[in-house]
């Protein structure tokens, strides 16, 4: 028999709360809904706490529950908005300034090399900047991006959830990435100067 302490405990669950809340807040953008979603996911996990072998299994499970809750919330929110309007949040010409008249990168806006993501990930400050950049995305654009990159849905699943076309979804994702890249470049990488290897 393996030791009893291998079972997940309420303390393990409590320790996850910060992570869960951070994850939910990033996507839902409002603290109250994030708290609610986390609360529900934790209650669901608590009722099955004895079935988990250790922290790793518990956290995988509770994150999966939370992701489902977030998809539900995002889906219900999208019902109250006209989907056709979403693509215009960041209009086609939003990024024209980055390119010259022949659609080549302008000298000042040429993307720089960002180095190894692992080295960036360990810097707590980076997460604050990422959140700031995500918060600056228009809401419907952020929703599409979150569903794709954080909730790990395929583009056609995102399109189906939000009742938009797949090509519309592709355009929104492209513009979200353009905007986030510029934001991270100016707010994080430029600020740090050439502190990369």
């Amino acid at each position: 028999m393996s030791d009893v302490s291998a079972n997940a405990s309420h303390e393990d669950l409590a320790r996850l709360r910060g992570d869960l809340l951070r994850f939910a807040t990033l996507q839902l953008r409002d603290h109250a809904s994030a708290e609610d979603a986390v609360q529900e996911a934790m209650l669901a996990a608590m009722s099955k706490i004895n079935e988990f072998r250790g922290q790793a299994q518990l956290s995988t499970w509770v994150f999966a529950i939370l992701k489902n809750k977030i998809v539900d919330i995002l889906r219900s929110r999208s019902r109250f908005r006209p989907a056709e309007g979403d693509v215009d949040e960041l209009p086609a010409d939003s990024f024209d300034g980055l390119f010259d008249e022949r659609d080549r990168w302008s000298a000042d806006d040429r993307p720089a090399f960002w180095g190894d993501p692992e080295a960036t990930l360990v810097q707590q400050q980076f997460w604050i900047v990422l959140k700031l950049c995500l918060d600056r995305l228009p809401p419907a654009t952020a929703r599409v991006f979150m569903m794709r990159e954080f909730l790990d849905l395929e583009p056609d699943e995102v399109a189906a959830e939000l009742a938009i076309s797949k090509s519309n979804c592709g355009v929104i994702l492209h513009r979200a990435r353009m905007a986030l890249r510029v934001c991270l470049q100016t707010r994080w990488f430029d600020e740090r100067g050439s502190r990369k290897c």
Binding site: D19, W114, T120, G170, R181
Partner: protein, 66 residues
Amino acid sequence: MLTCKETTELVSKEVDDSLTLKERLDMGLHIMMCSACRNYRSNIRFLRYVCKDAATPGRHIDETKG
């Protein structure tokens, strides 16, 4: 020859869908010669990587302490 702007669109398409053989060759050729677009593509991969990481349980301590 693709423009840089068109290349950025293909970078997203590569991630979300798939490229046709022609698109793949065009992008490959452009990226070989254009370091800015090469960096753009790697920035987008970087972005995906960190998002994936943020969605992975238990890798971070509570940011509110920061």
